[in-house]
Amino acid sequence: MNKPINVVIAGLGGQGVIKASDILSETAFRSGLAVKKSEIHGMSQRGGSVTSDVRFGPEVLSPMVPPGEADFLVVLAPDQVEVNRSQLKPGGVLIAPDLVDSAKLANRKSFNIALLGALSTHLDLTVEKWQEAIHACLPEKLHAANEQAFAAGRQAANSLKS
């Protein structure tokens, strides 16, 4: 089976859930993989729950992560962890918001990218492709802050592993 990697990114409207999923799907796309990214937006700017599904691999059919089959669940808001936990498959990896201290970031708004940094330590996508995607998806003036956040997230995840 050519099973794809399933990632669900969750949070609240305005936190950058969709921007994070844009960057993840762009990274997979630039790595030459099949990718589908799907979300429900429309009410997303009004502070409600937002989730985005990203699937990538040799072949992707359904655009939605099958319920309970997420390999990775990345959550940006503490109160959204339990709401989305059932998305994770048994043995799946939760990237929770307490992994990174947003006060230590150059720009607190880059918290979404910091959690992507943590996620990146589990995925077979190169740091170069991640960087390309960050550059492609964000305006130039935000590149430095977001690269710093991405590195901080990687470091936090790696220190947890060691």
């Binding site: 099949a34 429309g42 009004r46 989730t51 059919l61 359904s62 319920p67 959204q80 709401v83």
Partner: protein, 538 residues
């Protein structure tokens, strides 16, 4: 990156790219989730796109474009097609010279809509050919195919998509652009003047076109068989194909892309080739009903799966005849009015005064949720004013005097003006109070311009509808502009006075959307018209 490279695009963007490569001369529409991004992206990549006041107008402009021999794209959400239905049914009769492609973006599961409506029914009712893409690549390819079909049969084409097509990003490999012909006009008085003597033969011509297209649908590669197991055959269309392929990769598939008129011979042959044949489709049993009406034996999904979107789990359950209750997920956090949103003070006043509120479609529909719970109905675009009038006509005086209609600026331009005409023409004995929540943008769908902002789709300056002048010209007795602040008291005292006056009152409660204000100031600097912020202090 050259235009022939692989790109990562949403279905909406893919449709726009298809329109650009298909030589579409003008894209028109009205914003509505999940269709909005099509025209925005078309403008971004160099196509010509513009917002119309509403979907009916958008389609009528598109008809003019296609009568002039050019190619036209018209976009809207599913309920927008209800607004545009009048010209849609008639243009099916007149036919077109150039191309006319109508995108209907349906919202199964109602992520951001007031009803769950399967617009494939429109293809049958209006007698139009219909295409249903299953991913971004097909959204692109089918946009081009729709142009070709429209020009070949001189008929409008319905390109029917759903939320998961519109808002899923997936790779797209573009094709070579279609050759473009110069627009031209040729008189065709009998063909395009639908007086009864002309409309009768027009209907016969339309049915003849459908009969030809039904034959064509049998052989077009838009409908194809993926051979697999003879034990299980699945007939499917749109995103349901992707879910079904994932969970039943061993099955034989009849994948339908051209879904009206249906290739019934091809379907019959497929049904006969397998032991068990199941129709997997989201929403109404459109395919299943049509196939069964043709005398073929296929399984339809149980009724419980008509509601909401399909996904891989639900398709597994359908295939397993599983009608046990589905697991429910814990509820997420509902959306709410933003901090600093100007609507807060208005809904606080409605709540304080215990108003009976006839509401409308937009962000302010969130006024129905706590802490305000101050909206009594929300039916469709523009309905607030006439429904408020109806209530005023029948309720006892004390209650009638508490009725208020509340409508956003974009919604007012969309379909509020006829409500005002009704108000002036058939005034209730207690008068009526209409509040336009003027936040100077179409906030709900992501801050699109409209004729009341004085800026076009790309934010450059153009003509502007001024509601206070319009209200006066239409004959309302009392028209006031109220600049909104953070304090509810000022607005509330004006509302109390208006409700007591028993006059026909239009209150324009004005303050730019808190999320859009910064951008609006920038647009005003680049394209000076009448600044929204300045008018507020008149």
């Amino acid at each position: 990156m050259s235009s022939l490279d692989r790109q990562l695009l949403s279905g909406d963007s893919a449709i726009a790219l298809g329109a650009l490569h298909g030589g579409v001369a003008l894209g028109t529409g009205y914003p509505g989730t999940p269709s909005t991004e099509i025209l925005e992206y078309l403008a971004q990549i160099g196509g010509k796109a513009q917002w119309s006041p509403n979907e009916k107008v958008a389609l009528e402009v598109g008809i003019g474009v296609a009568y002039g021999g050019a190619r036209s794209l018209v976009t809207m959400k599913h309920v927008g097609v209800n607004v545009a239905a009048d010209p849609l049914f008639s243009v099916a009769h007149t036919g077109v010279v150039g191309a006319l492609v109508l995108v209907s973006a349906d919202d199964p599961g109602m992520a951001s809509s007031q009803n769950e409506q399967d617009n494939r029914r429109y293809a049958v009712a209006a007698a139009l050919p219909m295409l249903e893409p299953a991913d971004s690549q097909e959204a692109y390819d089918f946009m081009l195919a729709a142009i070709e079909i429209s020009e070949r049969w001189h008929i409008p084409v319905l390109l029917r998509v759903t939320t998961r097509i519109c808002h899923t990003q997936a790779p797209v490999v573009p094709a070579a652009p279609l050759p473009v012909k110069a627009p031209f006009f040729e008189h065709d008085l009998r063909g395009r003047n639908l007086i009864p003597a002309n409309a009768r033969p027009a209907h016969r011509r339309l049915r003849q076109k459908l009969a030809e297209m039904a034959e064509w649908s049998e052989t077009t590669p838009l409908n194809y068989v993926l051979p697999g197991s003879q034990q299980l055959g699945i007939i499917t269309s749109g995103v349901s194909f992707m879910h079904a392929r994932e969970v039943a990769s061993e099955a034989s598939f009849l994948k339908l892309g051209f879904t009206h008129p249906l290739p019934l011979k091809k379907i019959a042959e497929f049904v006969r080739s397998v032991e068990r044949c199941v129709v997997i489709e989201e929403g109404d049993p459109y395919l299943a009903d049509a196939i069964r009406a043709a005398g073929l034996v296929v399984e339809n999904k149980p009724e419980m799966y008509r509601f909401g979107e399909l996904n891989t789990n639900r398709v597994k359950r359908i295939l397993a005849h599983d009608v046990s209750p589905e697991p429910t997920r814990p509820p997420g956090k509902p959306p709410e009015l933003c901090d600093g949103c100007s609507h807060h003070v208005v809904f606080q006043a409605f709540k304080n005064l215990d108003c009976i509120v006839a509401g409308d479609i937009g962000c302010y529909a969130l006024g129905v949720l706590p802490p305000y719970s101050a909206m009594d109905c929300c039916v469709c675009m523009g309905s607030s004013i006439p429904i408020g009038l109806g209530l005023r006509h029948v309720l006892p005086k004390a209650e009638a005097k508490r009725v208020v209609s509340v409508i956003g600026d974009s919604t007012f331009v969309h379909s509020g003006m006829t409500g005002l005409a009704e108000m002036v023409y058939n005034p209730p004995p207690t008068g009526h109070v209409v509040v336009i929540l003027d936040n100077s943008t179409t906030a709900m769908t992501g801050h699109q311009e409209h004729p009341g902002t004085g800026r076009t789709l790309d934010h450059s300056a153009t003509g502007k509808i001024v509601y206070e002048k319009l209200g006066q010209a239409m004959g309302l007795e009392d028209v006031r502009v109220i600049p909104l602040g953070k304090d509810c008291a000022a607005f509330q005292s004006i509302l109390v006075e208006a409700l007591a006056s028993e006059k026909l009152v239009l209150l324009i409660a004005r303050r730019p959307c808190v999320l859009a204000a910064k951008h609006i100031r920038e647009y005003e600097k680049c394209a000076p018209g009448t600044p929204a912020t300045e008018v507020a202090h008149e």
